[in-house]
Symmetry: C2
Subunit: 442 residues, 2 copies
């Protein structure tokens, strides 16, 4: 009997992180890190796990989208899916009726990503490899075949992508050895949430340096005087040689971003992240030009490869921040990695939230082994939240992510956590009716 | 007692238009024009109607999004809502948790638009005016206060918007008189659906010219030889003086768009619409430069004002095609009309589908009376489908939309149609299980 996908279960799981203002920034004062969690089951008993990260309210919309798209996955032969997840990605993204709701953006696009990632997880489990290794063992031709180039060819053709991959293929084995031995650089956002007081900020900065981090990140954009004071505290705490990135989470318009950041220049910020709307390619280019040598970073809300293509074409970014859950899964992130390599721009993945570190580490490590071939000026964001709920949690030591060794994409949340934090009926949510009210109400 | 919104009903309504391939194009071979239909009710009994247009599968996701956002509308005082729909728009778009699912794009953004438009419909009904007249009676200051300028100021400031509106304020009364007397130009897409055969194409072209249209539109991008033949038939049928726009519905990449359109140049296409991804600002600019004097048009999938701002900043479009349901309602479309006026680019609204003609005519007519002050090179798309289901259907005579006179935004679908076409339980859907299957299955 052909092994087929027998069910796709989608679970609304929410962690009440807003109770301690973990994750608080200028746009997200009270996030509850959440996910539309996806579990594929095959008739053989094989499983694939994926998730779409969300921040609380609205997760039910994301769940509805995954459930709608899941009708295109149930019943499919497992062998066909895992042999060519790119074909599934094209079907999910290209459905002629559902694409009206995007196209290639927002809830439906992230739903496609959750399903595609779950199929890659299934593929890696079947292969007995962590996802980064599964990808790094594909030939350049196989990798190129997993990308939809339709809207990318004015910046990157199949032939150029192949040439890029071929050029670094010879060094794969040596870089894999280095990765397994020394891991991949991390940076930490733990010190810098807006909701933390000055004492906690200073203490966490010092701890971060002692832990081995060479780059930390602070949230900014709430109040200028606060930002000046907090940047001063952080710079004093970490000294002149540790890089401090700042992150405005889209709070500013273009002129405001430039004015505000000039007030912080004396503290030598390394990059300004999300200075304005993530859609504003031309705005990012203007901010970058005005603020150089401060770098411009964005990506966690950049909704597809077409947008990344333009950010690169327009010289609008110095740092590409891929996100494991924003786009249509591993395949689209492969396209973005190839674009970044073509333009010579380093990738520093967005992570944190719930599960983003677990998922995205595979993409960054694969990039090092088989695409860019470099970790220079690259680091994966790290935040020490919620990893305890994962079956294969990230391991970060001495400021570096250690390469995962378990088979899969590390997306699996343990059943006990799913049961406890399931929204709204899990026991962690009992007696917390206020949390699902609209913003402004708390 | 304060009059408050007592309920928001959201209905999944789908019309089986794919049975006759009405609306077929290169990306949408079998659309079923549908809507997440929104009905606000107040404790006083007052109603407001809105809708989010969709094309079949996935409408249930759109409905889920409207229902989630509707929790921010239920219980609100009617007087406050209709005095300042812009405040509601900012709350819906800016919710600190839900915005993760956009931001300002896709399903959640369109859901905000459906609710905001329903509030404007309620406001216009209360005022006893069609929406275009309600808007045209607001002062420049009131109009500017309805726009969120956060991400727009690098292209358009509040002061510039005010100056634009003030400059044409004196002529409002005369233009209103002209509008009431002669209506607003229309163009027709009825002849040109890809699913129609050559005979039907030729016949409908001739009929369109006889009906008074000076601009018709053909779908292209399926097959080049077919397009060459069909353009020849259409040009022969309408003669040299009637404009023929063509619409690729995003089927091409940038180099392909340029190559394909050069093959059609001999037939003097007026504009190429959606040559590539609607997100590709830089790509549209490249296509425009390569194909001039053929114009470039886009907008039905341009997901917010930030994207329109950039299309204008980058000289990427000759024609701005606003859509009543894509963005966060009347307020964001007001921002887009102001941007287009600032850059001197004409607005030719996207319409068709179900209800898009009814809604968007109000915005174009308001633009003529109070924003751009012109109908030169402007026309509202018209397709003769599904108007019979509306309480206040559009009236198009001699190739022109007549100004609506009934109070409201013309969004109301009559109860009998809602009952008949409700998905999946309406009688029109009985025995049609195949229609909700994924693409490729029919």
């Amino acid at each position: 009997m052909t092994d087929r996908i027998s069910s796709v279960e989608t679970i609304d799981v929410r962690f009440p992180t807003s109770r301690h203002r973990d994750g608080s920034d200028a746009m997200n004062p009270f996030p509850d890190y959440s996910a539309a969690y996806v579990r594929l089951r095959a008739t053989s008993g094989a499983e694939g796990h994926g998730l779409v990260f969300t921040v609380g309210r609205g997760t039910e919309i994301q769940v509805a989208a995954v459930r709608s798209l899941a009708t295109m996955v149930v019943g499919q032969p497992v062998a066909e899916l895992i042999a060519d997840p790119g074909a599934l990605a094209r079907r999910l993204v290209g459905d002629s009726q559902i694409r009206w709701l995007g196209p290639e953006k927002g809830v439906v696009h992230m739903a496609a990503g959750g399903l595609v990632n779950a199929v890659w997880d299934l593929a890696a489990r079947r292969a007995g490899k962590p996802l980064w290794k599964l990808l790094a063992d594909l030939t350049p031709e196989q990798l190129v075949a997993q990308v939809d180039f339709r809207y990318l060819r004015d910046a990157l053709t199949e032939a150029e992508a192949l040439a890029l991959l071929n050029a670094v293929e010879g060094g794969r084995a040596e870089r894999e050895r280095l990765l397994r031995a020394a891991g991949y650089p991390a940076y930490t956002t733990t010190p810098g949430w807006l909701g933390y007081d000055d004492e906690k900020l200073a203490r966490l900065c010092v701890e971060a340096v002692h832990a081995g981090y060479r780059l930390i990140k602070l949230k900014v954009g709430g109040d200028l005087a606060d930002d000046v004071r907090r940047m001063g505290i952080a710079r004093h705490a970490v000294g002149p040689d540790v890089r401090i990135a700042v992150d405005a989470n889209q709070i500013w318009g273009v002129p405001e971003a430039i004015r505000w950041m000039r007030e912080l220049a004396e503290f030598d910020p390394y990059w300004i992240e999300e200075p304005t709307s993530p859609d504003d390619i031309i705005g990012h280019a203007a901010v970058r030009k005005a603020l150089a040598p401060v770098k411009v970073a964005t990506g966690e809300h950049v909704h597809n490869a077409v947008m990344f293509k333009q950010l690169l074409q327009a010289d609008a970014v110095d740092v590409v921040q891929i996100d494991a859950c924003r786009v249509a899964g591993v395949n689209e992130n492969l396209a973005i990695l190839l674009l970044a390599a073509k333009f010579g721009v380093p990738v520093c993945p967005h992570a944190g939230g719930v599960g983003l570190c677990e998922l995205v580490q595979h993409l960054a490590m694969f990039d090092f082994v088989a695409v860019s071939g470099s970790t220079d000026d690259r680091a994966i964001e790290y935040v020490d939240h919620l990893h305890e709920h994962f079956a294969d949690p990230v391991r970060v030591e001495g400021g570096r992510y250690l390469a995962p060794t378990a088979a899969g994409m590390s997306a699996e949340i343990v059943p006990a956590a799913l049961a406890a934090y399931r929204f709204p009926d899990g026991p962690e949510w009992a007696g917390e009716p206020v949390v699902d009210l609209p913003s402004g109400s708390r």
